[in-house]
């Protein structure tokens, strides 16, 4: 199976990035984690454009952790573009965000998010959540054939 088992983390807040990486680390998840800081970069990575030109697109990420509030192109727009493209249509997307606004949840699922997770303020809970998430998406979940 020609898969990279990469995790794509789309997150603009460096603190959150650090915390997330720490949480993965503490959860003993060893997969490569690619971090992009805004929606545009996320799309560039996924479609091999701009800074990511020439990337082997067959190495699709195992799961994408997508924040909604992002500079340039927001999370929902990223999701919409992904779902519109044959290459990324079926990639598992977990929306990870600070809010649990009903409207955000509804929009995310409408646009084809596979999961919605609210980042807990309590770091212990956050670590637990990341652990569960990694276990599920990287171990239990059967990814789309690609």
């Amino acid at each position: 199976m020609n898969r990279s088992r990469t995790i794509l983390l789309v997150e603009d807040n460096p603190n959150d990035v650090e915390l997330t990486l720490r949480a993965f680390e503490q959860s003993k998840i060893k997969n490569e984690i690619v971090v992009v800081r805004d929606g545009k970069e996320a799309l560039d990575f996924l479609f091999g454009t701009a800074a990511h030109a020439g990337r082997d697109l067959r190495n699709a990420p195992e799961v994408i952790l997508l924040d909604l509030k992002l500079p340039k192109v927001d999370g929902l727009e990223v999701l919409r573009r992904m779902r519109a493209d044959e290459r990324t249509r079926r990639l598992p997307v977990v929306v990870m965000t600070s809010s649990n606004e009903e409207q955000d949840i509804i929009s995310s699922y409408d646009l084809g998010a596979n999961s919605f997770m609210r980042k807990p303020v309590d770091f212990s809970q956050f670590i637990e959540a990341v652990h569960q998430l990694g276990l599920y998406w990287l171990v239990l979940n059967e990814p789309p054939p690609g």
Binding site: N15, L19, T97, E101, D122
Partner: protein, 610 residues
């Protein structure tokens, strides 16, 4: 009771009728009065006719008597000499023009002489024997009953006068017959009113003279004798009766002086009633025309007033029903048109006011919507932007503890713990605040709720999450609720978790939940036996972030009761509480019964209760 509807037309009609009625009454009375006068005049006329005829008849008889007396005194007659009497009698007849046919009879009734040539030797009893007998018994002037003459074959009455001889005794009788068909003791016929009939009858009702159709009636009984007696017993007067030929007449009557003869002068009632009827018909027609004209005029006048008023009412109704382009038609009398003009101004003014109001409402709504949007943006920002730094504070504090904890002393680690504790607490505050804010805008999805089973379920969940202690939960039967299930679940959860939090730490902690109906609301009560609170701070009880106990004693953000109040208020209910320090608290909330919202509560299915 009103016969006519209370409309302008009705009022005008009533007015016209009330004018017409006395007019009709007056004219009707006038007609009646005139008819009565005419009737009285007719009565008088019949009486005069009767009197005048009776006088003529009496005069005739008196003349007859004088004539017969004069004849009876003649020596030739007194001599009762058959051989000489005839020529002299013929002379006498010439002398006395009234003496038509004269005869002289002796006491046996034998004719001694006659003014007409008769078979002298024959005993002709021309005069009836009863009369002759009366004459012998009491010799004086008499008039016989009407008899059919034996010689002439005509109806006659005979006047008889005794002839006294030398000795003064009656020796014979002079008789003179009057042909009744010739006898007309009436005013000349051109003096008779039209239709007038004068009849002379004897006491037994036999007609002896009649002004019309004499041949038919003379000698016959015209009326029943008894009636004649009854009526004529009065001697004179007026009576209304049916005449012998079946015509209703007014009769004046009078007895002929000193004779058993009566004169009846009749005028047909028709002669009085016909002109009266004709006048009635003419006047009535005229009156009907006038009254009809007045009614029509008043009807038309009423229409001229009421029609524009109806049009105004119609326009106003259309306006009230929302048609804003309606103009009240300005028509009709000046006053009505004035009202219409003023109404138009009023309508315009109210439309202007409405437009202004609508404009203001739109403006306000826009402002409110903007404010609402800002608030939503605010809460979105709060949930997003405030939580991230908090997470960083907490996360990095923990990382610090984990990575560098060994290098810190106890005080340093404690302070880091304080930082983490406060960041977590702020996270809870933000969450609760957001929950509270969301409650205000979320629409209510009401349905019937089995409150007993909901309360039991909520309590079990709370106990499962916090299994410390073992309070007694006394859940009484609760009336069914009508509301948003998720929100009311929140209310019960907040109240019950409060009760669990504050319930006494003593030996038999106890939480009670009861419910009952109170008018159109159901009331629910959650009671604990815990620390309670001082009612002096009651005002703060349901405020956001208001706490009556220290965080150390009882953890919490102070939003729970505020949420309870907001939910219950949105359901149209009320929240209140009673407490004394150390004696427990009772929290009450009420919910309108379903019927208040126009719905019926469906009975809970047996499976609903868990």
């Amino acid at each position: 009771m009103r016969l006519l509807p209370k409309t302008i037309r009705g009022e005008f009609g009533l007015f016209a009728v009330s004018l017409a009625l006395p007019l009709v009454g007056l004219i009707g009375y006038g007609l009646y009065d005139r008819a009565r006068d005419e009737f009285a005049a007719t009565e008088t006329r019949t009486r005069r006719l009767a009197e005048s005829s009776a006088d003529r008849a009496a005069q005739y008889v008196a003349d007859l008597r004088n004539t017969l007396e004069a004849i009876a005194r003649r020596p030739l007659v007194r001599a009762m000499d058959r051989a000489r009497c005839d020529p002299s009698l013929a002379d006498l007849v010439d002398l006395y023009p009234r003496a038509g046919s004269l005869i002289v009879v002796d006491n046996e009734g034998m004719i001694l002489c006659s003014s007409r040539p008769l078979p002298r030797d024959r005993v002709l009893r021309i005069v009836d024997e009863d009369l002759l007998r009366e004459m012998l018994a009491d010799p004086r002037f008499r008039i016989s009953k009407p008899v059919l003459g034996r010689v002439s074959g005509r109806w006659v009455v005979s006047a008889v006068q005794p002839v006294f001889g030398e000795g003064g005794a009656a020796v014979g009788t002079v008789a003179m017959a009057t042909d009744l068909l010739q006898w007309r003791p009436f005013p000349t016929s051109d003096g008779l009113p039209e239709g007038a009939v004068i009849t002379v009858v004897t006491a037994d009702g036999t007609v002896i003279a009649r002004s019309a159709e004499a041949e038919k009636w003379v000698g016959r009984k015209a009326w029943d004798e008894r009636i004649v007696q009854q009526v004529l017993g009065l001697k004179e007067g007026v009576v209304r009766a049916q005449g012998p030929n079946g015509v209703d007449r007014i009769f004046g009557f009078k007895q002929v002086a000193e004779l058993p003869w009566f004169v009846l002068a009749g005028l047909p009632e028709e002669s009085v009633f016909a002109p009266a009827r004709e006048r009635l018909a003419q006047t009535g027609t005229l009156l009907a025309l006038v009254v009809g004209l007045v009614l029509a005029l008043s009807w038309g006048l009423a229409a001229r007033i009421s029609k524009p008023i109806r049009a105004i009412a119609e326009a106003l109704r259309a306006r009230a029903e929302g048609n804003e382009d309606v103009k009240v038609p300005v028509a009709g009398p000046v006053e009505v048109a004035g009202v219409a003009r003023e109404l138009n101004r009023l309508i315009e003014a109210s439309a202007r006011a409405e437009r202004e109001l609508e404009g203001r409402v739109r403006e306000r709504t826009a402002q409110l919507e903007a404010a609402n949007q800002e608030l939503e943006g605010f809460s979105y920002s709060v949930s997003h932007d405030l939580r991230s730094p908090l997470r960083a504070i907490d996360g990095f504090s923990r990382m610090l503890t984990e990575d560098y904890g060994a290098r810190l002393d106890d005080e340093g680690r404690r302070r880091l713990a304080v930082i983490r504790e406060n960041s977590r607490r702020m996270g809870r505050l933000i969450d609760d605040l957001l929950d509270f804010a969301r409650l205000g805008k979320k629409p209510l999805a009401r349905s019937a709720i089995d409150m007993s089973s909901l309360a039991g379920e909520v309590y079990r969940e709370l106990r499962a999450a916090n299994p410390e202690g073992a309070p007694v939960f006394d859940l009484g039967p609760l009336p069914a609720g009508w509301g948003d299930p998720a929100m009311l679940r929140q209310v019960l959860a907040n109240l019950l978790s409060n009760a669990l939090k504050y319930v006494s730490k003593g030996r038999a902690p106890r939480i009670e939940m009861k419910g009952w109906a109170d008018g159109d609301h159901n009331v629910y009560c959650v009671k604990d036996d815990g620390v309670g609170f001082d009612m002096a701070y009651y005002d703060k009880l349901f405020g956001v972030f208001q706490r009556l106990h220290s965080e150390e004693e009882f953890p919490g953000t102070g939003v729970g009761l505020a949420i309870v109040q907001r939910v219950v208020t949105r359901h149209g209910g009320r929240v209140w509480a009673e407490s004394k320090p150390d004696e427990g608290s009772s929290f009450y909330f009420s919910l309108p019964k379903a019927a208040m919202n126009g719905f019926a509560v469906p009975p809970a299915a047996p499976g609903d209760r868990k």
